[in-house]
């Protein structure tokens, strides 16, 4: 009896996960403007999507912000995880650990509000950052995504045997050289995973960006949110389908590459 229950429950679970995604994709090819009434196959919403200048600009801005913030967050997050795993006893270690675990569970509304209030205070005291816009969004995204990068890289570093690194150090290589010649190649998969995670988190963030963005710096989620609030619209379905396509291709490629790597 239970043997049957398990596959059925798991199957229903997967239907629950993928049904809505499937419905998004199907109705993105719907001729009718009414999202849920089938009016024949059409790709016109994709054409409309690419002609929507507001969405295109926002998407481009979001991609740029995500790429820059993910790169900076990867560098900073890697630095922290090196300090926590390879530097031995460091003063303030507990505070550092706290500061990289707290953002993982912090509600976005609080992160957003606190950063905005900081930016306003800083602007009043030092005149920087002047107003809110791309710079403030970048700072906010770097801050919360570096915590995620640090977690990914740290778990790789602590799983890794550091005998090779120590041997190189004993043989007289400088710590910098050891890092770039030995540690970095060994943690490269974790760095890529961390970067991708940071990139996705930045691309997906609505709440924090809404707090710290200014006029003229509407990211893609901000534009989508204001559209979705007014109701369903088929060009958003088209956008969602494109995102799903890109993500699926990316994930499947990554999985195949990792399996090949594992076989070697």
């Amino acid at each position: 009896m239970r043997l049957r229950f398990l596959p059925i429950a798991a199957f229903l679970g997967f239907v629950f996960l993928y049904g809505p995604i499937l419905s998004l994709v199907i109705f993105s090819f719907n001729e009718s403007k009414l999202v849920t009434v089938w009016g024949g196959f059409s790709t016109k919403w994709y054409v409309e999507l690419f002609q929507n200048q507001q969405i295109m600009n926002a998407a481009w801005l979001s991609l740029k912000i995500a790429a820059i913030s993910a790169s900076v967050a990867t560098v900073l997050g890697t630095m922290i995880s090196m300090v926590l795993t390879r530097f031995g006893r460091v003063r303030g270690r507990a505070i550092m650990t706290g500061m990289i675990t707290a953002p993982l569970v912090m509600p976005e509304v609080i992160t957003g509000l606190s950063l905005l209030l900081l930016f306003v205070t800083m602007e009043r005291l030092f005149g920087w950052p002047a107003g809110r816009g791309v710079t403030t969004i970048l700072i906010a995204h770097i801050t919360f995504s570096m915590a995620f990068v640090a977690v990914v890289v740290q778990s790789r570093l602590s799983d890794m045997d550091n005998a090779i690194e120590e041997a190189a150090l004993d043989l007289g290589a400088s710590p910098l050289r050891v890092f770039f010649d030995i540690t970095l190649p060994m943690i490269a998969p974790a760095l890529i995973a961390g970067w991708l995670l940071a990139f996705t988190l930045s691309l997906d963030d609505l709440v924090i960006a809404s707090f710290v963005s200014g006029p003229g710096s509407s990211t893609l989620p901000i534009v989508i949110f204001s559209k979705v609030r007014l109701g369903v619209s088929p060009d958003i379905n088209a956008l969602a389908s494109l995102i799903i396509l890109v993500v699926s291709l990316g994930i499947i490629t990554a999985a195949i590459l990792m399996r090949k790597g594992a076989r070697k």
Binding site: L17, T36, G77, P107, V109, V120, T143, R229
Partner: protein
């Protein structure tokens, strides 16, 4: 000379991320704390300074009004309680949906296991906002689910599902499910199959084996997954705003309204401080539960 260079480099690697986090993570909380004791003003910035120099003496204006106001206006208490309620029940629901899935994946043979795991992670990489949006198309009055139910004749009139707590629960369970499944899976995959065999060999039923062996052993996974759902859901803003009705109060939404619509920064800050305190309690409880688990 070389030693000094190394120490300099070491100091640099420690200092840069630490300073970044101090400036952009820790200090912002002190700013929130400070502003939560200020008085709202119609000015730029829209709050009173916490201290002023009057005739050469520093005068502090600590104002408890914002906290008192939250206590007096039942709206905030209701919003807090409702957030806790929704977070609690969606955690239970996610556990009920997620546990069989995690268990099934953990028991699957290898190539299948990786593929199923990939299928769990994949939605997480697509947009959160768009996954919530998908449910609007399904649940709205002329949505997919209603059309389907009307078509097969279970109902005669469309059900009103959008802008209800039901829609909020569905969207929360849907979007947070991977966070429940992944820690559960990580735990269940380590479960020693021999224990289950021993239990059935000794005559225990499958159900008894589950409740007396599998479930207690997977407790750390249950706790970790529940925490990853419960804590962030308390502060959820997007889902109650898009799916919930005007009366589905949640504190994250309330903070947003206070800030963006009422432009009352001090009250928004006070709400954030109380939220933080409320969230610290389950996190501490989890820490101590995990430490106890480690001792055994």
């Amino acid at each position: 000379m070389k030693k000094r260079q190394i120490n300099l480099g070491r100091g640099f690697v420690i200092a840069v991320p630490t300073l970044w986090l101090l400036l952009f993570f820790l200090i912002p909380f002190l700013v929130i704390l400070k502003i939560s004791f200020a008085e709202p003003r119609i000015a730029i910035p829209p709050y009173s300074p916490l201290w002023e120099t009057v005739n050469g003496a520093i005068k502090f204006n600590i104002n408890w009004e914002n906290y008192a106001y939250m206590w007096e206006d039942s709206l905030y208490l209701k919003a807090f309680l409702n957030s806790l309620k929704i977070a609690f029940f969606s955690t239970i629901l996610a556990l009920l949906v997620g546990y069989p899935m995690a268990y099934y994946i953990a028991r699957s043979p290898e190539p299948k296991r990786s593929i199923l795991l990939l299928l769990i992670v994949l939605p997480f990489w697509t947009s959160f906002l768009l996954r919530v949006y998908a449910w609007i198309g399904i649940l709205k009055t002329k949505g997919i689910l209603n059309e389907f139910l009307l078509w097969i004749g279970i109902i005669d009139e469309p059900l009103i599902m959008m802008q209800t707590d039901f829609a909020v629960y569905v969207a929360i369970v849907y979007t947070y499910l991977p966070f429940m499944i992944l820690p559960l899976y990580a735990n269940l995959v380590k479960l020693d199959g021999r224990l289950l065999e021993a239990s059935t060999d000794l005559g225990a039923s499958k159900i008894a084996t589950f409740f007396r062996i599998t479930l207690p052993l997977s407790w750390p996974g249950v706790l970790a997954g529940s925490m990853l759902v419960f804590v962030p859901v308390i502060g959820e803003f997007v889902i109650p705003t898009l799916m919930g009705g005007p009366d589905s109060l949640m504190i994250g939404k309330q903070l947003w309204t206070e800030f963006f619509s009422n432009r009352d920064w001090p009250v928004a800050s006070a709400v954030a401080m109380v939220m933080l305190v409320i969230m610290v309690i389950p996190i501490m409880a989890l820490r101590s539960a995990q430490n106890k688990g480690a001792e055994i």
